[in-house]
Symmetry: C2
């Protein structure tokens, strides 16, 4: 059996897995050191070389990348934290180096594909995936197909406007979901409220993280509980719009923030219900946590690799 090599490129680390066609258990997994020598592309090549099987042929390489890209042309438009990867034809460069076909995909899009094929979304033909962590990303499966859009830029669920003229988003515009409900947005809100005099268990902490907020909520901290419910309500507002647009049967939440459990999700659901034009949208709608965890990118890349090439 031939091998599919998948790579997940994160902000600080790259991970690779080798899969035998027909199995979802990797035959090998490798990772780069968190701080490597050389350019990002060289480190990627060393990683792929290290996992290249000795006695098996490699069918293709599939790479999950952070940032907007064009899956048709194999060009990544920009990668946060990776110098030199603006409009970088990573697909062609890897093909030149390794002599096998290369496919690339946005990591959140691929995580959607992974959850659909192997995770919490199995059996659903219409699925939304949202990952809520440092940013908010996602992917949409409609009628069994990943929506990519004309240039591969579709599915940017974090950049729906939920509060016109609201806080500044990482993308430079205002009021997007990511600016209101991502981990950093939740932390910023908590810090603002503490600065304004709201009491909180987190007051004496130096640098607050989204995980701190989640833990403080678990200890009954009212500000933290409120901050998570507020973020959940914004996510629910956006989710109602998404449900009106895509009429899915599954909504899957990934990313660290979504593990705040009902401090967040209960308010997501309340706000979804409050905004829906018709309760029919809730018929057969499952809302679930992602199942693949840190492996979502690698498994999503495998799912892409298993799709027939056009």
């Amino acid at each position: 059996m031939t091998i599919i090599i998948t790579v997940d490129i994160g902000g600080t680390q790259m991970r690779a897995a080798a899969f035998q066609r027909g199995s979802i258990e990797p035959v090998d997994m490798r990772r780069t050191p968190t701080m490597g020598e050389g350019s990002a592309f060289e480190r990627l090549c060393v990683l792929v070389q290290s996992i290249w099987p000795e006695h098996r042929s490699v069918e293709k390489i599939v790479v999950a990348l952070p940032g907007p890209l064009n899956p048709e042309t194999g060009v990544i438009y920009s990668a946060p934290n990776i110098p030199g990867w603006d409009n970088f034809p990573i697909g062609t460069e890897l093909e030149k180096r390794f002599g096998v076909p290369v496919r690339i995909g946005n990591d959140a899009n691929l995580a959607a594909l992974g959850e659909w094929r192997f995770g919490a979304g199995q059996g659903h033909h219409h699925l939304l995936y949202l990952t809520i962590s440092t940013g908010i990303g996602g992917g949409v499966i409609s009628d069994g197909r990943l929506l990519l859009g004309a240039q591969g830029l579709a599915g940017e669920v974090g950049h729906i406007t939920v509060l016109p003229d609201g806080p500044m988003c990482g993308c430079g515009q205002r009021g997007h979901l990511e600016a209101l409900a991502s981990g950093p947005a939740i932390v910023r809100y908590v810090e603002e409220q503490i600065a304004a005099g709201t009491p909180s268990l987190l007051k004496e902490l130096g640098k607050i993280t989204a995980r701190d907020v989640s833990e403080a909520a678990g200890q009954g901290d009212e500000l933290s509980i409120h901050a998570l419910s507020r973020a959940g309500a914004f996510i629910g507002d956006a989710l109602a719009s998404l449900v009106h647009l895509f009429n899915p049967t599954a909504v899957i939440f990934g990313g660290g923030v979504s593990f705040s459990g009902d401090f967040l999700l209960k308010h997501v659901k309340e706000s979804l219900n409050k905004n829906l034009m018709d309760q029919s949208y809730l018929r057969d709608l499952t809302i679930a946590q992602a199942a693949l965890g840190d492996n979502a990118g690698l498994m999503g890349a495998l799912a892409l690799g298993l799709l027939p090439d056009n």
Copy 2:
């Protein structure tokens, strides 16, 4: 050549056209009187009977319907203004009556399909269609396929939340695009402003329509100009979210309100630009007026009829 009969069911009238496969010029067109005798279904049957060709065989009937429906099962969930059409299996009933296959579609979805196949969206594989009139509806073509969602309820572009806790929408929820930028929403805003003392040419008019607002804007009426620019800005806010989700190459505007021209569209574009996370989305993006006018429903039904049955 066989005949495809298409029907467009509006609030006050039903229209039918008979097309020969291979031609987009109807061989016959008929309409019901605006106020007919008998039940809506009986009037529909009389209309179809009246256009049934004498010496040709009918291949299928395709019906464009106002309201949410399931194109798979042929059931319309509810039709505003048509008593008795809640959860009505119109597809099956018509098949029983006429003995040929029947397909049904939401009229705004079908208008999207019609503009894509025959109108302003030809050649685009990723297209958004928005119709702005009494309500706001639309349809999405992604990678050459109409998005329907699990129950046929996708593409409800008028029910994106653009102003949380904003004015009440016709659907019973708050702050949806339709509640802020449809014809009645524009009129309501103008009436509120006049009641609050804002001067306007429209002040002496009894009942104001969206067309009056558009005409008054053309005559320099500042309140009307402002009301249209305000609606345009909300449409642009929503459009930015849609563009982030679907990454289309064409956005087509239909419906009477969109004929307010730049009083509206200029502000749509400004607000779109203001909200976009990346200017890449504007590359190759065409924004255009719909081309099919009143025939959008009939032509969209033809487009659906010409699609291969699954």
